[in-house]
């Protein structure tokens, strides 16, 4: 899964293959799919607050598979409720994350997109710029939802001031740790970077066989918080042109600290240099790791993989350099309406139903992800679950988004940040050289497109 990373190793490898196969399919499709634009367009959302009459109509909806472990009851309830409200039927289709991107691309090219679909937040700008999605800003404003949406998700779906994706759900990364290990080593969850190092030293001394704080080379989401925490930027936009910020003094300071946990303090292992997040989770569930940066959706899977860990896992937000929190990437999904939707009022009614109130809350409870509205997020925080509350705090107070441009998708595809980390962790390059090279590579992509 490209947006969030997934906990199991098997899935990660299947994902690579899925992408490969789907990719080849697209290359073959190029031949046949070109030339046809999107189909007939109808009027936009003319009545965002009303209840449209959809008797005899049918909406096609794509939802990603795997987010909700058992989505059938949810879908059945949604169908019944939507039919009751509007009279329209739903055709819900589940799509694998691995093949989703290429499937969307082929569908946009061939004018066969669904009416409503779940779109990974990092894909929204790409599909919007390709002309696939419609602008939802007016509808959101008129429905009075504008101020309730989680800002990080709005930011991720906004291009040139227009919102193309309605926040649906999201996850965020914080630190997951072993409570038993911390207790025996006599340390508390750290709140500053210095405390993180001190806690690490104690754990390393008490548990020399464990990996104190693995620094995986193939995961840019691990380093991002430290760049942002130190006051740096991954990239900034000025007058429509993006430029990289990873070689700024602040970003270098954050990258130095994060990679230093491995190269100076020995909290990681050379093995982690080639790990992605799936490998990281594997090592954690095998009991080899004391703490790690991991997603809010992962604790359940970690305990499933190793039931012995039950009651021994805790979480804390990623500390800031001198207290507070370091911002962490807020990844998740939008619901988007496609240009090909015939009845956009009806599509909007569905989007509204799924992203607010009862149905949004249900989805969040069943999937383990956080809802996209502040009011619902507050409810989650108030439940005070020790494996949920720290993530919820991170998400509502220190969530951040990656550069909102489809060009950043290319940078992720080229693994620019991961390559930078790999070269520092394997001691092939200094932080200064590696960040300079990464910035040059990013700027090259930003300038060429």
């Amino acid at each position: 899964m490209r947006v969030l990373g997934r906990p199991s190793g098997v899935k990660a490898s299947r994902t690579r293959w899925g992408r490969l196969v789907a990719g080849l399919a697209v290359v073959t499709l190029l031949a046949t799919a070109c030339g046809s634009g999107s189909g007939a367009e109808s009027a936009g959302i003319t009545d965002p607050t009303g209840t449209p009459n959809g008797d005899g109509e049918k909406l096609t909806v794509w939802i990603m598979e795997g987010t909700n472990p058992d989505p059938k009851p949810y879908v059945d309830e949604l169908k019944t409720a939507f039919k009751k409200e509007t009279g329209a039927d739903l055709d819900v289709q589940f799509v694998q994350w691995a093949e989703a991107h290429d499937k969307f691309v082929s569908a946009i090219a061939g004018g066969t997109t669904p009416d409503v679909a779940e779109v990974g937040t990092t894909w929204t700008p790409e599909f919007a710029e390709a002309g696939g999605l419609i602008d939802l800003s007016e509808a959101v404003k008129k429905s009075g939802l504008e101020s309730d949406l989680v800002p990080g998700l709005v930011e991720a779906g906004t291009i040139d001031g227009k919102l193309y994706g309605m926040p649906w759900y999201a996850g965020v990364r914080s630190v997951i740790y072993r409570t038993d290990v911390f207790k025996k080593a006599g340390v508390e969850p750290p709140t500053t970077w210095d405390e993180l190092v001190q806690a690490g030293e104690k754990i390393k001394a008490a548990f020399p066989k464990m990996i104190t704080f693995p620094v995986p080379g193939d995961s840019e989401y691990g380093v991002d918080p430290f760049i942002w925490g130190a006051g740096g930027d991954i990239a900034t936009e000025k007058d429509g042109t993006w430029s990289s910020g990873v070689d700024s003094a602040a970003a270098q300071k954050g990258i130095s600290f994060y990679t230093g946990l491995a190269t100076e303090h020995g909290f990681s292992s050379p093995a982690a240099t080639t790990w992605d997040e799936a490998d990281l989770s594997d090592a954690f569930s095998r009991g080899q790791v004391a703490m790690m940066i991991s997603g809010s959706w992962t604790p359940g899977a970690l305990i499933d993989a190793n039931p012995d860990l039950k009651g021994k896992i805790g979480a804390f937000p990623i500390p800031g350099p001198d207290g507070g929190m370091s911002p962490s990437f807020l990844g998740g999904s939008h619901l988007g309406i496609f240009e090909t939707a015939k009845d956009k009022n009806l599509a909007w009614a569905l989007v509204r139903m799924m992203t607010t109130g009862e149905f949004a809350q249900k989805w969040s409870e069943q999937s383990g992800f956080f809802p996209g509205t502040k009011s619902l997020l507050k409810k989650v925080q108030q439940q005070n679950d020790p494996l949920v509350a720290p993530f919820a705090k991170q998400m509502s107070e220190a969530g951040a988004s990656l550069p909102v441009t489809e060009l950043y998708g290319q940078i992720q595809g080229k693994k620019t940040m991961a390559a930078m980390l790999e070269s520092i962790l394997s001691k092939k390059k200094s932080v200064a050289d590696a960040t300079k090279d990464a910035a040059a590579e990013m700027d090259d992509i930003f300038s060429k497109g």
Binding site: C34, A109, D218, S269, T273, T274, K414, A419
Partner: protein, 319 residues
Amino acid sequence: MTQTIPTTEPAAGVRPPAAGRRLRHTPRWLPWALVLPALAVLGLLLIYPLGWVGVLSFQDFGLRELVTGERSWLGLDNFRDVFHDPLLRTALPNTVVFAVVNVALTVAAGTAVALLIAQLGQVARAIAVGAIMVAWAMPAVTVTYVWVFLFDARDGFFVELAGHLGLVDPDQTNWFTERLAFYAIATVNVVQHGFPFVAVTVLAGLSTVPRDTLEAAVLDGAGAWRRFWHVTFPLLRPVFAVVTILSTIWDFKVFTQIYLMPGGNGTNRDVLNLGTWSYITAISQNRYGLGAAIAVLLTLMLLAITAVYLRTLFRQEEL
């Protein structure tokens, strides 16, 4: 076939002249009509996509072009970009050196195994051939994961073994981050997966070497080494030509075995080869035009090197 005219002429050679006659009476279009289905399948599955890759390599073709159907011709810009990209400086030698080493090792290992199997009795031979067939039949993905697993940092079999022997510190070792070690592991994988084809093909060839020629060589006092180089090898040149060409093609465009190894997906730039670079550019970055240019470059190199390779290894008239 019914057109065959019985010949009354005395047969001059071994080959009956009827073969030549038959052609004259067959309509010109018939052979083409007979191969048409095969040609159509090949054209659809191979030539059409190949042509498209060629066309794409001259375009700025990304997601936008795919969606809108616009065309934006760049001339040779994609190729210029490829030649100026610093990644070419690692990807090119990685591809070429890896291929040369792997073809040599695969053909050598396959030939050695074939010679060994040829010495065995019937039962042992059946078991040995069956065993290498299994190795051959395994999907590349599976085999790659097995090798990765064996060489894995921290708890892979070979790392632990080397640790017990005092050669390395398993906690401080990750072979996948080093270019040479990475490609050594890939070589083990590719040779292990590739030698059975060579062995089976050469074994089939060995049965055509006349026994009396070999016996004559023995009587003349030739050892095993000389018999191989002076009798077997010259007789089997066409067989070696085929296995060498095919191995070269396979090892040049190796992708799966590299991409699936830790760091092979572009994270470790030191181990990128033309195949993985092309895939990452075209599919992960959606820069289909630039990715196609890399693929075209790879194909042209492959053609050139195969040609040169064959000319030096085997003289033209003997093929």
